[in-house]
C-alpha cells in the first residue's frame, strides 16, 4: 500500500519546484534588466513598477533575485555534477582495481578529507580564482573525496557478488563489467549524498559570494546582494531581507526533501510507520 506523501515532503517539493521554475524563467525573462542602472529610482521601496523595490543603483530587486536564483541553481548543479563525476570515477577505479592504485588514490583522498570542507574550498579558490567557475571547481573538489569514499566502499562490496563474477565468466572485458554491472549499484548511495550536497553547495556559494569570493558583481547572486545591502540595512530593509529569505527558503526546501528521501530509505526513522 502506498503511503500518502507527508506534509514536509510536499512543502519541500513545492519550494524546490518554485526555485527551479524561477531559475528557468529568469534565463529567458525578468521584469526588468537585472543589470540596468536607474539612478533616479535609487533605493525605491517595494511597490509600483518595482514590486520588491530597487537597490543602491536603482536596479530592480525582483529581477536580480530571479537572476540570482538562476546563478545559484546553475552553480549548485554544476558543482554537484562535478563532484559526483570526479569523486565517482576515483572511487570506482580505486575500488575496482584495488592494490597499489587503491592505496595511493585513497591516501590522497584521506588527506583531503582531513580538512574541514569549507576550508578546503577556500584553499582551492586561491588556486582557481574567485569567480563563478572557480567556485564550481573549488566546492566540487572539496566534496569529491566524500563521494569517492562512498563509491569505493560500495564497489568493494559489489565486486565480490555473483553477478559481477558471471559477467567476467562470460568473457566481458573489465571496463564493461565495471560500467555496466558495478557502477549502476552506486547510484542509490550517491543520490542521497548528492541531495545533501546540493544544500551545502547552495549555502557555501552564498557565503562565498557574501564574502566577495564568489560570483563577482555586477552579476547578481543572493550572497553578493546581501553583502551590498549592508550599508543600507536600516534605511532599505527590503534589500537585506529578500535575498536572505530566498536562500533560507531554498535550503528549507532541500532539507525537507532530503529528510523525506532519507526516511524512505531508512524506515527506522519514519514516525510510527
Amino acid at each position: 500500500m502506498r503511503r500518502p506523501i507527508p506534509l514536509n515532503a510536499l512543502i519541500g517539493g513545492l519550494l524546490i519546484t518554485a526555485l527551479v521554475l524561477t531559475a528557468a524563467v529568469a534565463l529567458v525573462w525578468t521584469p526588468h534588466d537585472p543589470l540596468a542602472v536607474n539612478l533616479r529610482a535609487r533605493l525605491a521601496p517595494p511597490g509600483g513598477a518595482y514590486p520588491l523595490g530597487t537597490d543602491e543603483f536603482g536596479r530592480d530587486v525582483l529581477s536580480r533575485l530571479m537572476a540570482g536564483a538562476a546563478t545559484s541553481a546553475i552553480v549548485a548543479l554544476a558543482t554537484v555534477a562535478f563532484a559526483v563525476i570526479a569523486g565517482g570515477t576515483l572511487g570506482l577505479v580505486a575500488g575496482f582495481l584495488r592494490g597499489w592504485t587503491d592505496r595511493v588514490l585513497m591516501a590522497v583522498n584521506d588527506a583531503l578529507l582531513a580538512f574541514p570542507g569549507i576550508l578546503l574550498a577556500l584553499g582551492f579558490l586561491v588556486v582557481f580564482g574567485a569567480n563563478q567557475w572557480g567556485i564550481v571547481v573549488a566546492l566540487g573538489l572539496a566534496y569529491a573525496p566524500s563521494v569517492a569514499r562512498v563509491v569505493r566502499g560500495t564497489v568493494l562490496s559489489i565486486r565480490e557478488r555473483e553477478f559481477v563474477e558471471a559477467s567476467r565468466v562470460i568473457g566481458n572485458p573489465e571496463h564493461t563489467t565495471l560500467w555496466r554491472h558495478v557502477a549502476p549499484n552506486c547510484i542509490a548511495p550517491v543520490a542521497v549524498l548528492a541531495t545533501g550536497m546540493f544544500g551545502w553547495v547552495l549555502l557555501s556559494e552564498s557565503a562565498l559570494s557574501f564574502l566577495g569570493l564568489g560570483v563577482p558583481p555586477p552579476a547578481p547572486t543572493w550572497g553578493n546582494m546581501l553583502a551590498s545591502s549592508r550599508p543600507y540595512m536600516e534605511s532599505a530593509v527590503w534589500l537585506g531581507v529578500a535575498p536572505g529569505l530566498c536562500i533560507a527558503l531554498s535550503l528549507l526546501g532541500i532539507n525537507l526533501l532530503g529528510d523525506w528521501v532519507r526516511d524512505r530509505l531508512d524506515p527506522r526513522m519514519a514516525a510510527h510507520a
Binding site: N8, A107, D110, A111, L112, A114, F115, P116, G117, I118, L119, L122, G123, F124, L125, V126, V127, G129, A130, L203, S206, A207, F210, L211, G212, L213, L226, R230, M233, E234, V237, G240, V241, P243, G244, I247, A248, L249, L251, L252, I254, N255, L256, D259, R268, M269, A271, H272
Partner: protein, 304 residues
C-alpha cells in the same frame, strides 16, 4: 594515526600553495625587482631546489612553528594567527557548548514523544534553524538589537585585555547567532540518534524492570544517543573555525576566518598558508580529543 594525517595535511597545503598561479617571489618583491634580486630571494627561499627537498625544508620550518611573515605588513604569521584565534575560539566554544546544552535535551524529548505535537514543533523549529544562513540571521539580529533597539554595539571590537565587559558586548550577537544555528543542527542529530536507541531491546528491558521513565532516559538512552552528537560536535568545532569568516564579516570581528579571507584577497600567501595549516591542525587535534573522550560515556569503546 595523527602523525601520518598531519603529514598528509602538510603535503596538501604545500602542493596547494605551489599550484597557485604566479611566482611567489615576484609577489613578494613587486614589479620593480631586478633579475639578481629575484634570483637571490629564490635561492634564499630554496625555490631553486628539487620539489621533494623543498617540501622537507618547508616541513622542518613549519614544525618549528616558523610560518613566515605576512607580505602585507611583515608581521609574523604565527603571531597573527594566535592573536586572531582567541576571538574565533571564544565565539565557537561558547556557542557550541550552549547549543549542545539546549539541543541534546530537546532532541531527547522529541525522540521520546516521537510523532507528538511537541516532537513536530521541535523538528519544525530545528529544520527552519538549519535552513537559515548564519550571516543572514546575524544581519537580522544586528538590525534589530543593534540599529533599531540600540542595545548592543554594531561595529568594531575591543580586546578582552582592555575592557572585558565591552569585549563581551561585541561578542553577544555573534554567539547568539551561532547558538541558534547550531541548535538546529544538534537537535536534529540527537533526536535521530535517540530514536534509534529507544527502539533497542535493552531500553525495553530497562522499562520492563520497572525503572522510572526518567531513569531510563537519562541513564540508559542518553549516553548511547549522545555518542553520534558528540562526534558531530567535534566536526562542527573544526568546520566553524574556517566557516566562521562570514559571521566575523557581519560583525566586523578580527577573527581567524577573517584573517584567512583577507589573506586571500590580498594574495598574502604566507598568511593563507599559515591559516590553512593551523585550522586543519586544530581540526585534526579536536577530532582526536573527541575520539579519546568517547570511552567516558560509552564504555564499549576503550581507549588504546
Amino acid at each position: 594515526m595523527v602523525v601520518p594525517t598531519l603529514l598528509l595535511v602538510g603535503a596538501t597545503v604545500f602542493v596547494l600553495m605551489r599550484l597557485v598561479p604566479g611566482d611567489p617571489v615576484l609577489v613578494m618583491l613587486g614589479d620593480t625587482a631586478g633579475e639578481a634580486e629575484i634570483a637571490d630571494l629564490r635561492a634564499a627561499l630554496g625555490l631553486d631546489r628539487p620539489l621533494p627537498v623543498q617540501f622537507a625544508l618547508w616541513l622542518a620550518r613549519v614544525a618549528r612553528g616558523d610560518l613566515g611573515a605576512s607580505i602585507t605588513n611583515g608581521q609574523s604569521v604565527l603571531g597573527l594567527i594566535l592573536e586572531r584565534f582567541q576571538v574565533s575560539t571564544a565565539i565557537v566554544l561558547v556557542a557550541v557548548a550552549a547549543a549542545a546544552l539546549i539541543a541534546v535535551p530537546l532532541g531527547l524529548l522529541a525522540a521520546w514523544r516521537q510523532g507528538s505535537a511537541a516532537d513536530l514543533a521541535i523538528v519544525a523549529g530545528a529544520t527552519v534553524l538549519v535552513s537559515v544562513p548564519s550571516f543572514w540571521l546575524g544581519l537580522l539580529l544586528l538590525l534589530l538589537f543593534g540599529l533599531k533597539l540600540g542595545w548592543l554595539p554594531v561595529v568594531g571590537f575591543v580586546p578582552f585585555s582592555e575592557n572585558f565587559a565591552a569585549a563581551l558586548s561585541f561578542l553577544i550577537l555573534p554567539i547568539v547567532t551561532l547558538i541558534m544555528i547550531e541548535i538546529g543542527v544538534l537537535t536534529r542529530m540527537s533526536r535521530a540518534a535517540a530514536i534509534e536507541v529507544l527502539r533497542l531491546d535493552y531500553v525495553t528491558h530497562a522499562r520492563a524492570k520497572g525503572l522510572p521513565e526518567s531513569r531510563v532516559l537519562l541513564r540508559h538512552v542518553l549516553p548511547n544517543a549522545f555518542a553520534p552528537t558528540w562526534t558531530l560536535i567535534g566536526l562542527t568545532l573544526g568546520n566553524l573555525l574556517g566557516g566562521i569568516a562570514v559571521l566575523e564579516t557581519v560583525f566586523t570581528l578580527p577573527g581567524l576566518g577573517r584573517l584567512l579571507v583577507d589573506g586571500i584577497f590580498a594574495r598574502d600567501y604566507p598568511v593563507v598558508q599559515g591559516c590553512l595549516l593551523f585550522i586543519a591542525l586544530i581540526y585534526v587535534v579536536v577530532n582526536l580529543i573527541v575520539d579519546l573522550m568517547y570511552p567516558l560515556f560509552d564504555p564499549r569503546v576503550t581507549a588504546e
